[in-house]
Symmetry: C2
Subunit: 324 residues, 2 copies
């Protein structure tokens, strides 16, 4: 049993995931609970998370050294504030780092969940062994994280890694960001569902027609495409076309050792990755095809939770440096 450990907190709009890990990042205990953001504010949710962490600490018997927190942006990473993410109504300038530090008595670090997931996959997942990679989460939205020489690139205003807002079709469909033709507006799970619904509304014949509109999800489109439905197949194929533009751009700009894709849509596995690899390889002429390495994330829904633990390790190391 280790005598010291770190905690990881992954704050999502629907659920909160928690882990306690040893100093090498090996998870000793983990749990998750529904966020129920409609019923309660951030204080009550964080209170439940901290109580769960204390319960897990009791089971491991280890002493807590630090905590890491991943959360959807926007946030002020350096000030430790969560700034009204769209999926967390009421979390306005919420000082999550200060609250966790005061309540647990340890240093804490915050980063956005896509950066946390990039760290998780880099250290423990599909990106293990690479120093230079881009992580993409393809879920209800699209986010990402860029790792160069083994470290996250944050950029000015912590704005790096917003791969979901890369333009892949100028004057394309509107995006939630206010722009047009962003990768997210064409390739997220939400976009898959929206594009399928538009074809159904236009009267195209499809097995999806038997579903109510809100049952036409990204996952339903993936399944129907796999079963050979013509509308779903076309929507799926268009998604891969634009995703190949975006991923191809990442290879042309950064030539990473790997692009790792996680998130709900990526769970389609080879139905996504097979044609995606083929098209990116055809598109990127400046690299030999065998250097185009596109991998499915391997930590499932836990990429960001592992990343939160890594942020906790970094918080501990920073404290040690400050006190030495």
């Amino acid at each position: 049993m280790p005598d010291q450990c770190v905690a990881g907190i992954d704050i999502g709009g629907t659920k909160i995931a928690l882990a306690v890990a040893d100093l090498e990042g090996r998870v000793l205990e983990k749990t998750r609970f529904p966020a129920r953001t409609g019923e309660r504010g951030p204080h009550a949710i964080i209170e439940e998370a901290l109580a769960e962490i204390e319960r897990m600490l009791g089971k491991t018997g280890a002493h807590l050294a630090a905590a890491g927190i991943g959360c959807g942006g926007p946030l002020d990473r350096k000030a430790g504030l969560i700034l009204s993410p769209p999926n967390l109504p009421g979390w306005d300038e919420f000082p999550v780092v200060r609250i966790v530090e005061e309540r647990l008595g340890v240093p804490a670090l915050l980063d956005n969940d896509a950066n946390a997931a990039a760290l998780g996959e880099h250290r423990h997942g599909a990106g293990r062994g690479y120093k230079h990679l881009v992580y993409i989460t393809q879920s209800t939205g699209i986010g990402g994280g860029v790792i160069v020489r083994g470290e996250l690139v944050h950029g000015v205003y912590d704005g790096a890694g917003e791969v979901g807002h890369m333009t892949v079709l100028p004057d394309g469909p509107e995006c939630g960001c206010g722009g047009r033709g962003c990768l997210e507006a064409l390739c997220s799970g939400t976009a898959l569902a929206r594009r399928a619904r538009a074809r159904l509304a236009a009267g195209e014949a499809s097995s999806l027609s038997s579903l109510s509109p809100n049952e036409v999800t990204g996952r339903a489109v993936a399944e129907a495409a796999r079963a050979g439905d013509p509308v779903a197949s076309r929507v799926w194929d268009e998604m891969i076309h634009y995703l190949a533009v975006g991923v191809g751009n990442l290879f042309n700009i950064l030539a990473p050792e790997a692009v790792v894709i996680g998130g709900g849509v990526s769970e389609a596995g080879e139905q996504l990755f097979g044609p995606l690899r083929e098209r990116v390889r055809a598109r990127v002429r400046m690299l030999p095809p065998e250097r185009i390495n596109i991998l499915q994330a391997s930590l499932g829904g836990d990429s960001a939770l592992h990343g939160a633990v890594i942020l906790g390790q970094a918080a501990r190391e920073r404290r040690l440096e400050q006190t030495s």
Copy 2:
């Protein structure tokens, strides 16, 4: 007078530029001569360059410690080979590093000219003081270099920085790389000229109609646009539209402190940079407009030559590390 110096060699398709600089990179002597690649092979050209360097060394009286070489790709940087660049016919697997090292008796380093220009602008030009920037050369082609935490990112197969082959219009015009809709195919000086010629051939009324087709260059389009010619203005405006897509993508992916643009087209100055800044700021919603910093290169045609000197400094430092 310094007792030690480094040499920089910038090999282009039309001219060879040379510099001798002190160990801080201050240029003591520089010169250039026509490459005349049609008349002679790489050995004769390099021989002339080395003789010029020796002549400059004689003038400075300093002892040469190392040399740096910038050249258009493709090349094998680590092996020190130039691999048949399109603008250097006959330079097939040309071992430029070995020849320079043997002939001058000092260590040498090679990198592609866009990376060299990125180094030059980063250390001595518009990018001075920034640790995180992207350099773009917008000339007959479009190339680039990515600097993160003060160092060039080379990526796998040295493929990073190929910003000219980012897709900015899927299914757009053919590019020399074999792809379609690349930034280079829409925004290079060559693309400007081609797009203007196509409009003239379609019979659109323009002051450019009085020129012979090979006089319709990127520079002529810029000048006619500045004078208010409708065809040239439209072609110039479309170029800025697609350049804003590409530069916007760089901000979304990397959030650099600055994007620095050099090369012939960029010499149009505010005619380019004014509308470009405005459109990138409107396009990138994830960064506050004031953090979108787009600058004109400030070393004129000498960005890559300054970069070659920096490669020479790096060659010297590497040798010192190896022998210490």
